[in-house]
């Protein structure tokens, strides 16, 4: 019997038609209610499973990282003391600045609107490097907006549905964000790289890349709010004879353990 007259062919053909129709409906946005249900329905199961396994995992995780926690604690204590001194200085400057603004009649710029969102699904490995958020057009989300977690830029919105949106993590090799070294005019581009790293690239050779300097968003892209922290300058990995400087970025964010985020609406 020829293959096209078999039951196997009939089943495969029906599946193919279903898939093509599904893809068409998804591209047109008609499958959104179904996708919403599919994204939300596993959440209780995931929560229950995590509730059982997280304490065990945390216990063993802490056992293996005690030494690192101790050294982190020492380093962070020193950093807190240093920052407290800086904050005291900034407070004085702030009050002075406010007084001058009042004198000169400046209008206070409104802070950027932050939309809190829950991560419905995140890619556990580096397959797509995306987060699916429970905020969409209904919450004023648009493509290109910055996604912040733990105070740092972690992703950029790439696709928006009515009630959900998809964000691409900055560690993805196809992600680029314009950036600046805080407190200087040094600009560059933050790029994702293979292996969950982030790099600061296209920095002028004349620029001074000090290890530990804070990197923030430059705000050249109209959708991304400026001055959102991205990370700190790590090691310079470009050679002196290269056209631009390139450095690794150290960020405290664990990109695959993000559960709640803020979308910065400009």
């Amino acid at each position: 019997m020829r293959f096209i007259y078999t039951r196997a062919f009939a089943i495969l053909f029906v599946c193919l038609v279903v898939l093509v129709m599904g893809l068409f409906l998804q591209v047109k946005g008609y499958l959104e209610p179904v996708q919403y249900v599919l994204l939300h329905s596993p959440q209780p199961v995931i929560r229950i499973v995590k509730g059982v396994t997280d304490p065990v995992q945390n216990f063993f995780g802490n056992l293996f990282t005690v030494r690192k926690i101790v050294s982190d604690n020492t380093r962070l204590t020193a950093q807190v003391a240093e920052l407290q001194t800086k904050v005291a200085g900034f407070d004085a400057l702030k009050s002075e600045n406010e007084a001058f603004k009042k004198e000169l009649g400046f209008v206070q710029a409104s802070p950027p609107g932050l939309q809190p969102c829950t991560v419905l699904s995140s890619d556990p490995e580096n397959l797509t490097d995306t987060l699916v958020l429970n905020c969409g057009k209904d919450k004023g989300i648009t493509e290109g907006q910055a996604v912040i977690a733990q105070g740092y830029l972690v992703a950029k919105i790439i696709f928006v549905n009515q009630s959900t949106s998809t964000a691409l993590l900055i560690i993805n090799s196809q992600s680029t964000v314009d950036a600046r070294i805080s407190g200087t005019d040094t600009e560059g581009v933050v790029k994702g790289s293979f292996g969950s790293g982030v790099l600061l690239d296209l920095v002028s050779q004349n620029a001074d890349l000090k290890k530990g300097s804070l990197i923030v968003t430059a705000g050249i892209n109209s959708s991304i709010t400026p001055n959102i922290p991205i990370g700190q300058v790590g090691d310079t990995i470009s050679k002196p004879n290269e056209l631009f400087k390139r450095a690794s970025i150290a960020t405290p964010v664990r990109f695959h353990e993000i559960y709640y985020v803020f979308v910065a609406k400009r």
Binding site: A8, I11, L12, C15, V18, L19, V20, G22, L23, Q26, V27, L31, Q35, L38, L39, S41, P42, V45, I46, R47, I48, V49, K50, T53, D54, Q57, S121, D123, P124, E125, N126, L127, T128, T130, V132, I158, F159, T166, L168, N172, S173, Q174, F194, G195, H256, E257
Partner: protein, 177 residues
């Protein structure tokens, strides 16, 4: 009833995958679990139930990974269909488990090639924003294959045990008084 049980099984696999495997660094097992189930059911049981697992599990995975429909679904379907056809038409030998690992390996390679090719084509057609990076897939391919091969027999065992238990329950239904 049977299909509701299948949906619950898929839901459990997703829960275990995203809730346990992913935090333990075994994230590649998340899309791999439905594939292992599909290959196991296609080979071990002479039924078309693997199509249901492939369709429902695949669409669920596509949605969870924010990928276009068909990225995982079609790979699962093709993997299951080839396993079923090759095994039942060409080999048809009692000791299925001897060939199981070879079929899992084949299905894995098919999954990786399909994911790259399908998303690249859709991206070229501008139907999706970003394709899956082929270099990234290639870099992780050995991890994916090794993890799937390690977990192939545990999944095989769980499915056989579950089917055996289900058959026993149907043979000896509980009687109230």
């Amino acid at each position: 009833m049977r299909f509701i049980a299948y949906i619950i099984i898929i839901l459990l696999f997703i829960g275990i995958g995203f809730g346990v495997m992913a935090p333990l660094g075994l994230g590649w097992l998340v899309p791999g679990l439905p594939l292992l189930v599909v290959v196991c059911v296609a080979m071990e049981y002479d039924s078309w139930d693997y199509v249901f697992f492939a369709l429902v599990g695949g669409v669920w995975m596509d949605t969870m990974y924010a990928l276009p429909i068909g990225s995982f679904t079609a790979a699962y379907l093709l993997g299951g269909f080839l396993s079923y056809t090759v095994f039942h038409s060409l080999l048809w030998i009692e000791a299925n488990w001897k060939y199981y690992l070879a079929f899992v390996l084949g299905a894995d390679i098919l999954l990786l090639v399909w994911l790259w090719a399908y998303t690249s084509i859709l991206s070229r057609l501008q139907w999706i924003v970003l394709p899956i990076s082929g270099a990234e897939l290639l870099r992780h391919s050995w991890q994916i294959i090794i993890i799937h091969l390690i977990f192939a027999f545990p999944v095989y065992g769980v499915i056989n045990a579950a089917v055996g238990r289900w058959k026993n329950l149907r043979r000896q239904p509980l009687q109230l008084l």
